[in-house]
């Protein structure tokens, strides 16, 4: 059975009721179709009410759901072909980042993604989706090749954050991420970044410098994990819920803040409820922007990406003139 969150319980209970009623109706040969129909309507409206008004922390839970589709789940649904290419050519192949050449609607593209595992065993292999420097250097290598051959780049973001251990420090985690940021900003090919689950801090951003940033409806993208934020703010990691609200990191927030360009709809309850439908929405959104971006010249693609980044930030500017005036007694 799927992992069930507290806020989903009313729905599950009602659905259970319907199942019982249907069984009773069948066993006793009593027509309860009207009652069932009413209840089903109620379930539908309850779903809309609950899933349509998820709080940030609830979205975090959905984004981290153990059955949340990961990059490999999307591959066969998004691409006609995918040839995975491994390694950073320097040190190791990091399995928390996957990449390669894919065929998307007949167009060869370079794909790079963070990958969480399903289950403990795979998660250990993939370091719970937390890349080491070699992962970012693999990503950089593959993206540099996309630039060389004029291929669009699609990135998929799904990580709690970059690996935070001694090995990562020893091999220059900061440098590896910074190189990705610098390189992505400079490419002359279309870059579309899609946050499919967790967008955890700098480790997520390293693949996030797109001309377009798409976010799945229940994904989030944050400067810091809500637990860590709570720990810093209130010395209490259990206040993650409050931190989640404070950080304004949902797809809706990011759209307003000028970071995300579009929200990709998920089925009610989250992507794991219907992978195929989610993948179709993702494909649709990517396709829409890819078609547009491919019409632009390389220089425009680069300039527009820079302008997008350049505009991110909120501050006030006091003109020297006006302050001079006010400084008079």
């Amino acid at each position: 059975m799927l992992q069930l969150f507290d806020f989903e319980k009313p729905i599950a209970e009602l659905e259970q009721k319907i199942t019982e009623l249907q069984k009773f109706s069948a066993d006793k040969e009593i027509d309860l179709s009207q009652e069932v129909a009413i209840l089903e309507k109620k379930v539908a409206s309850l779903k809309k009410e609950i899933y349509g008004n998820l709080e940030p922390w609830q979205k975090v839970q959905i984004a981290r759901h153990s059955e949340r589709p990961n990059f490999y789940d999307y591959v066969p649904l998004l691409f006609e072909d995918f040839i995975e290419l491994k390694g950073d050519r320097l040190f190791a192949d990091d399995r928390s980042i996957a990449g390669g050449i894919a065929l998307f609607h007949g167009i060869p593209v370079t794909v790079v993604a963070q990958v969480k595992g399903k289950g403990t065993k795979e998660n250990i292999k993939r370091n719970f989706g937390m890349p080491h420097p070699e992962g970012y250097r693999k990503a950089l290598r593959l993206m540099d090749q996309a630039e060389k051959f004029g291929r669009p780049i699609l990135t998929f973001i799904d990580t709690p954050g970059a690996a935070c251990d001694l090995a990562a420090e020893e091999r220059g985690q900061g440098e590896a991420i910074a190189r990705c940021l610098l390189a992505m900003a400079g490419y002359h090919v279309p870059v579309i970044s899609t946050v499919i689950g967790e967008g955890g801090s700098g480790g997520a951003l390293a693949l996030g410098v797109g001309n377009v940033v798409l976010m799945l409806e229940n994904s989030f993208y944050s400067v810091i994990a809500p637990e860590s934020c709570a720990s810093i703010l209130w010395k209490d990691t259990t206040k993650a819920k409050e931190a989640a609200a404070a950080l304004k990191f949902t797809a809706q927030d990011l759209l307003r803040l000028g970071v995300a360009d579009e929200i990709v709809r998920e089925p009610l309850g989250g992507a794991h409820k219907n992978l195929r439908q989610t993948a179709e929405e993702v494909a649709l959104a990517i396709s829409k922007y890819l078609v547009r971006l491919r019409l632009e010249t390389p220089d425009v693609l680069r300039t527009n990406r820079y302008q997008k980044l350049r505009a991110i930030g909120v501050y006030q500017e006091i003109s020297e003139k006006s302050s001079e005036i006010l400084e008079k007694p």
């Binding site: 420090e169 610098l182 951003l205 909120v314 006030q316 500017e317």
Partner: protein
């Protein structure tokens, strides 16, 4: 007043921002000398490395380097500037950028005021142009006393403007990093300052203009993972702690205790991540030589 300047503005990217009729007298640039804030209240301080008890006055006179073991204490942005730039050569930039609280983040306003009190400045970075041994250069210094030099919208914007002006003026850039990383209180806006500053450095690099990054104690997180690591040349001060994840977080999340000396400048150099370690006393001379050799002649 300063408090009013941290005005709430929700979800609006203001750029260029509307002119605000507010005084900036409180935040006027200080002359490039050691600031009064440099002097802690007590008369003496104990060196964390050699244990020597040092008079604060002696420490200040020695550029905040232990007179016995050469341990490098932290120093303010203006303190550094005074040690580096030719006299009266500094022109400060972008003092008129004022921090807002776009997420209405709990406690942010208070933190900003506190940081202002502590540092005497309005933000975590000081930028401008100056000369070092007569060589014109664009400079930026993180201010540890302002929220540990963390990078929010204003820090990112000031650094990007400095880089963009360096491109216009065809000047090299030297940035002194001291930072805890991205500024949590500005959320995703803060995170994307990493991308924004890195992107600007990419443009500088395309023009073949030199960028020297000097990493000082401490440089971590989003700053390590953006402009601090992207220098053509990476210099560190001795015993500076430099890393991506801080030792406390590594302990908390991975239950991994770092070995002694991990994340020091020396550790980073051993691991190939730093070009050279330079004593504070030699910094001006080393920078001048590097800048000179990148002018295409000696």
């Amino acid at each position: 007043m300063f408090k009013d300047i941290f005005k709430k503005t929700r979800y609006v990217t203001i750029q260029p921002a509307p002119v605000q009729n507010r005084s900036s007298s409180e935040i006027s640039p200080q002359p490039p000398t050691l600031s009064k804030k440099e002097l802690p209240d007590s008369l003496w301080v104990k060196c964390p490395k050699c244990g020597e008890v040092l008079f604060n006055k002696d420490l200040e006179e020695n550029a905040r380097v232990c007179t016995k073991c050469e341990y490098h204490f932290r120093i303010s942005a203006r303190g550094r500037l005074a040690l580096l730039a030719d006299e009266n050569s500094f022109e400060e930039w972008d003092t008129e950028l004022i921090t807002l609280d776009p997420l209405e983040f709990p406690g942010y306003e208070g933190k900003l005021l506190e940081a202002h009190e502590k540092s005497g400045t309005t933000e975590g970075v000081l930028t401008g142009r100056a000369k070092i041994e007569e060589i014109p250069v664009v400079l930026a210094f993180n201010e540890a006393n302002f929220m540990m030099g963390s990078m929010g919208s204003v820090v990112g914007e000031k650094i990007v403007r400095a880089i963009e002006r360096a491109i216009e003026l065809s000047l090299p850039v030297v940035i002194f990093s001291t930072s805890g990383g991205a500024r949590m209180q500005e959320g995703i806006l803060s995170l994307y300052q990493m991308a924004k500053t890195s992107a600007a450095l990419g443009k500088l690099s395309d023009k073949h203009l030199l960028y020297i990054s000097v990493l000082t104690d401490p440089t971590f997180g989003g700053v390590t993972a953006s402009y601090a690591s992207l220098g053509d040349i990476l210099i560190a001060e001795p015993n500076a702690l430099i890393g991506f994840t801080g030792p406390r977080v590594i302990m908390q999340t991975m239950r991994q205790e770092l070995p002694t000396g991990a994340q020091t400048a020396e550790f980073n150099q051993e691991h190939g991540l730093i070009d050279l370690i330079v004593q504070r006393a030699q910094m001006r001379s080393v920078l001048a030589r590097l800048l000179r050799y990148h002018q295409g002649g000696a």
